[in-house]
Amino acid sequence: MERRSVSPFPAFQLEDADGTIVTERDLLGHPAVVYLGRHPG
């Protein structure tokens, strides 16, 4: 089952839809669901 992992979420520095920089540190402090969409979103 590929569903479990013991890896940290990869580091990233990307823009959100408003152009604000978001990093992996913004995920800390609470459980988060990250949905990687396919085309178009």
Binding site: E2, R3, R4, S5, V6, S7, P8, F9, P10, F12, L14, E15, D16, A17, D18, G19, V22, E24, R25, D26, L27, L28, G29, H30, P31, A32, V33, V34, Y35, L36, G37, R38, H39, P40, G41
Partner: protein
């Protein structure tokens, strides 16, 4: 997260009224690659499950939102990250119709909360025992 530009991400967010969600643009697919999200050859469209999902979406009048120049091959992934930044759940789509049911993702998040509450409770018990000694 979308493999499109920030402007496209804003359009998509507004179109779906996702004001409460953070929509991140990843046009270079940095995170997609880091998490191993698949990008199959063009023939994936011919998979019966993908065709079926596409037809159901069309019947429900869901618009694909395709624009010229979009990457139509990149597949997605569903991830639950715990409060310390560790991946608690990872599912890489094997085709466009392969996504995790929202209730399954919510169950993983709830499980994390239960585990956290148990750890906090056990931590308090340990502190109590230390105080009593």
């Amino acid at each position: 997260m979308t493999p499109q530009s920030a402007a496209r991400a804003a359009d998509w967010r507004d179109e779906l009224s996702l004001s409460g969600a953070v929509v991140i643009a990843d046009p270079k697919r940095t995170l997609y690659k880091a998490l191993g999200a698949r990008r199959p050859p063009p023939l994936w469209l011919l998979r019966p499950r993908v065709l079926g999902a596409g037809l159901r979406a069309l019947a429900a009048r869901e618009w694909f939102g395709w624009r010229l120049g979009d990457d139509t091959l990149q597949l997605g992934a569903d991830v639950v990250v715990d409060r310390d930044g560790w991946i608690a759940f990872l599912h890489r789509a094997s085709d466009a119709a392969d996504r995790t049911a929202p209730e399954e993702l919510i169950a993983v998040v709830r499980q994390l909360d239960v585990r956290r509450a148990r750890q906090t409770h056990e931590g308090r018990l340990d502190e109590q025992q230390l105080d009593e000694q």
